[in-house]
Symmetry: C2
Subunit: 222 residues, 2 copies
């Protein structure tokens, strides 16, 4: 039997998502829980990156993961093996999570014993960018095989993120991906974004990413 | 100056999308225009595959392409260079196209001189699967770097497609992608789907894909 719970998320009843998101952030501050909203396309390596992130920080923080998906449990099963607390959220076909839905997820997960909560959002570069989940920080992953033109095609997503992980840099030699051109596109949309090239598979760049998270989490919970 | 037009698509006013889709298909039949709805994640190689498809079939059919995107023109500019007729559709933030929106696109493109119309849908594995566009056939691309578990995570998309192109097979040696396992997952969801492994970059598999299209287009327009 699986050790993780599956929660069927209900559509939010709140009309003003931005207000609900601010409320949720205030609660998280009071609870001393840092919430990261992690977004990307399907297949960019969110789950593998999460596993590397958990391995890097699990001795310093109590970590809890919410795996949002249309209706599968693939990711929760993978994360459970890391030993982190995990819950699977089913969105019932919805392509994003808003603050009300995230709140349901946090209640399902339970944050009394969690310093660092991570929401793995639905794999999608469009809808999740449009809804503030109540997270403290937004991160996104763009993987090398997806192409360096994605900032031009999904500008909102790149605009609302605090950090961009460019993943799968171990396969750069096999793809026409111009890392410098990509960074330039992104910084034009969002001059304050932190860009960290990583390979979740080889571990390259994970130290820098973990260091960024460590600082942000401590600033929030201390 | 660009030679392609940009059309801002309006939200559909029709309540019953399935009925509108059937009506649109009937019109396409009368007009002798075959419409292919091409779907995938961002970065799976839709545009590169389209370019290879146009090169393979442009001497046999008059081809017209609708490039749907949230708000960029990157893809229309790329397709224009192939010499095919092309129009850029902006969805104004919407993550999919329904039949009413596709009809607007076809009117903007003009199909009197088009045998084979292609809708490059918004890059997304969730929303586009939920709306019948009125297309004659649905195709999707899954690329090797996205992972062989995607059918488990986005079952609806794999269920509604007539053909699945598994793209970027030239990089199979660099990824943990089990082609046979992937095919098995897909066929369990959709026993009638045709699966064609391709590399849009090297041209591998494009002949088989073009042959499938040739048969389907001829069946429809003749």
């Amino acid at each position: 039997m699986e050790g993780y719970r599956v929660l069927e998320i209900k559509k939010s009843v709140f009309e003003n998502n931005d207000r609900e998101a601010d409320r949720l952030r205030a609660e998280l501050k009071k609870d001393r829980t840092f919430l990261l909203n992690l977004m990307s396309s399907p297949g960019s390596g969110k789950t593998t990156t999460l596993k590397a992130t958990i391995a890097a920080l699990k001795d310093e923080f109590r970590i809890g993961v919410m795996e949002a998906d249309i209706d599968s449990d693939v990711d929760a099963a993978a994360i459970e093996k890391t030993g982190a607390k995990v819950i699977q959220l089913h969105t019932g076909g919805m392509c994003h999570l808003d603050a009300g839905m995230t709140k349901q997820g946090l209640e399902g997960l339970g944050v009394d014993d969690v310093d660092f909560a991570i929401l793995e959002n639905v794999g999608n570069l469009v809808c999740p960018a449009e809804f503030d989940t109540g997270s403290v920080k937004n991160a996104m992953i763009l993987s090398v095989p997806e192409g360096d033109d994605k900032p031009l095609k999904y500008p909102l997503m790149f605009s609302i993120c605090d950090v961009l992980l460019i993943n799968k840099i171990d396969v750069l030699p096999y793809f026409d991906f111009d890392l410098e051109a990509c960074k330039k596109h992104v910084l034009r949309l969002n001059p304050n974004i932190r860009i960290i090239p990583i390979s979740a598979r080889t571990g390259e760049g994970i130290d820098e990413w973990a260091a960024w998270l460590r600082t942000e989490i401590k600033n929030w919970i201390e």
